[in-house]
């Protein structure tokens, strides 16, 4: 087993699945790069973050398909291709671009199976990049996972590290439903042990990253690392936090969260999106509807504020939920 970055893990999952199944194709802007360029080479980008680098060389431009800047056509094409026999992996470069292609996801991909009485399936993956941290400002730093999670018919995956990224992406590609696979842009350099061979991580199974009996901390994607930092910090005071990474928000592993809350009676949720109708609210609602008698203290939601993402680093740092805020929330629920 070798150490690999999150980027490499995703690349490897794509490579192995494309080698295994000729129906897997990649569609997106500059997923190869260089089409129509004067240098006459492809793979000039391999995705704007280099995630699909090398794949066009292995599988050719008919399977690593560069497109014009037309996201509705990109995503819709993936949906229609999935309905008719391919297993496309479409890339929405930044999740913030959702607004120019949302119909093809929420009214088409998510609904065809139900509307057609179970007679269609849409085995596609939409990979996209989420999150703040690179000062990319309001239109390139959102997470938007609550919007996807709200939509029945979509599955939503948010890997927090390289190991999960590979296993969840292979699962996503082999899954017969439309899967939104959200990669956090601050995680591409994250390194973990990642097996060379293909493996799958089932959806709806949370990862208990840290065992603990005093307080339950639920976090996804990059926030898992914030939660862990907070857990380490309170550990110095002898507080044992249980850190749970649901890994997928739809389906959500309610049982693992509820079992933990049954044990700890205390729940802190860390979520990078703004708070209203958010995943943090969703999990808080889960607790108060299904684990009310277990709760010993108010649930705490540590989220971004109800604002767009600011550009200036001094503000962006404040926007992103931080370990200090989580630490304080943990202390509050313990004192309560």
């Amino acid at each position: 087993m070798a150490k690999k970055t999150y980027r490499q893990a995703i690349n490897e999952a794509l490579r192995q699945e494309m080698a295994r199944d000729a129906d897997v194709v990649i569609i997106g802007e500059d997923v190869a790069g260089g089409q129509g360029g004067s240098a006459g080479v492809l793979d000039a980008y391999g995705g704007v973050m280099g995630v699909t680098k090398g794949l066009v060389g292995m599988f050719g431009p008919e399977r690593v398909i560069d497109t014009p800047i037309s996201e509705s056509a990109i995503i819709g094409m993936a949906v229609g291709a999935a309905n008719t026999g391919l297993r496309p992996v479409a890339e929405l470069m930044f999740v913030d671009f959702l607004g120019v292609c949302f119909d093809q996801l929420f009214n088409q991909a998510a609904k065809v199976r139900y509307m057609f009485g179970g007679k269609a399936k849409t085995p596609m993956v939409m990979r996209s990049m989420i999150g703040a941290g690179l000062c990319a400002a309001a239109q390139h730093s959102q997470t938007l996972h609550p919007i996807f999670t709200h939509v029945p018919g979509l599955k939503v995956v948010m890997p927090s590290g390289a190991y999960d990224a590979k296993g969840l992406l292979i699962e996503a590609i082999r899954d017969d439903d439309p899967v939104i696979f959200l990669e956090h842009k601050a995680l591409y350099e994250q390194i973990e042990e990642v097996p060379d061979e293909p493996y799958m991580i089932p959806f709806g199974e949370a990862n208990i990253i840290l065992d603990g009996g005093d307080v339950t901390v639920v976090a996804l994607s990059n926030m898992v690392h914030v939660a862990l930092a907070a857990a380490r910090s309170v550990a110095k005071d002898g507080v044992r936090a249980e850190v749970i990474d649901p890994r997928t928000t739809s389906p959500l592993d309610e049982d693992t969260i509820l079992e933990s809350v049954a044990k700890t009676g205390r729940l802190v949720i860390v979520d990078e999106s703004p708070p209203r109708c958010s995943l943090a609210a969703d999990i808080a609602a889960l607790a108060v509807t299904k684990a009310f008698r277990d709760l010993k203290a108010p649930v705490e939601m540590i989220t971004a504020p109800h604002t767009p993402v600011p550009f200036a680093p001094s503000l962006e740092r404040l926007y992103i939920p931080g370990a200090d805020a989580v630490t304080q929330a943990v202390r509050r629920v313990l004192q309560s």
Partner: protein, 321 residues
């Protein structure tokens, strides 16, 4: 491409089925048997049929809110369609889709679509499958003049040209998008020319003339099948009825409504084939009677079929969850 006598009978059979189906749907809707919104295809029969005669089940089409005609032309089961529109068990989509969401993927019918401009991106996806798997299939996007102004349509056209996809965009210009005339909504007043500027052959054709549609569609489908990329047909075929059932059509003059009826694709077809003695009236009348009976049976069956059962509500959201 010549149409044999059998082809002609088949063409007429499909057009007549559409007409009879829609007239029955109208009656059923007006008597309160059909819930929701219904958009009739009457007047446009030659468009769907003229195109679909070139297609097999392996070829795909994408359709619109005005989709019954496309379904029938593509070979969807009539009884299943009627059940679906009535919202009953046994409907093509189990009663969960309704008029605006009939689909039958086994027949290459990718679905009616209640989002104007919703299908072109999906249809180029079906074309991508054909191209990638080298199946020789083609994909056809049926859309309206109104839908021709939707950004998704333009994107799909450009993408189809860039990737040289085996697709045909069939724009049924019936003069209106709801209550707004095409002469207002299409700034350039020329839908085909706009499509041509995306880099593909595009032709205007009389969409009430089965023969003209059939010929133009033959060329476009052949080009797609032979790997020569996409094309567009703009078919002129005014609708007889309102936008949806219940539309008083205040935006159309009495004269227009009269003229429209003079371009009835079924009458025009009948005159052509009988005058040229390719088919005779008896043959056509026999088809009419046969279809009438079939539609009767379908409507009666639909009216008495059970509604979906409560357990269907949460079924088939996902393959697995």
């Amino acid at each position: 491409m010549q149409l044999s006598r059998d082809d002609l009978k088949e063409a007429y059979r499909r057009m007549r089925t559409i007409r009879a189906f829609e007239e029955r749907v109208k009656i059923a809707f007006e008597s309160g048997q059909i819930p929701g919104f219904v958009h009739l295809y009457v007047g446009q029969e030659a468009a769907a049929v003229g195109v679909c005669l070139h297609l097999s089940d392996a070829d795909a089409i994408g359709s619109t809110h005005r989709g019954h005609g496309h379904c029938i032309a593509k070979g969807c089961d009539i009884a299943g369609m009627m059940l679906e529109i009535f919202g009953r068990q046994g409907g093509l989509c189990g009663g969960k889709g309704g008029s605006m969401h009939i689909a039958d993927l086994a027949k290459g019918m990718l679905g009616a679509n209640a989002i104007v401009g919703g299908n072109p991106p999906l249809v180029i996806g079906a074309a991508l499958t054909a191209k990638t798997k080298r199946t020789g299939a083609v994909a056809v996007s049926f859309l309206g003049d109104g839908a021709s102004n939707q950004g998704t349509t333009f994107e799909a056209m450009n993408m189809a040209v860039v990737l040289k996809l085996p697709v045909v965009f069939v724009i049924e210009n019936n003069g209106y998008g709801e209550g707004t005339g095409v002469s207002y909504a299409v700034g350039a007043h020329d839908i085909a020319a706009r499509a041509a500027a995306f880099g593909m052959p595009a032709h205007k054709v009389d969409g009430t003339d089965l023969f003209a549609v059939h010929e133009a569609a033959g060329d476009a489908v052949r080009a797609a099948r032979e790997g020569r990329g996409p094309s567009t047909l703009e078919l002129h075929c005014p609708r007889f009825h309102g936008h949806f059932l219940g539309d008083p059509q205040a935006y159309r003059s009495a004269e227009e409504l009269q003229t429209v009826r003079q371009h009835d694709p079924l009458s025009l077809f009948r005159i052509k084939v009988t005058e040229s003695r390719l088919l005779d009236s008896h043959q056509l009348d026999a088809i009419d009677a046969e279809i009438e009976a079939m539609i009767d049976r379908a409507a009666a069956a639909a009216a008495s079929a059970p509604f979906p059962s409560p357990s269907d509500l949460i079924k088939d959201v996902y393959v697995s969850y």
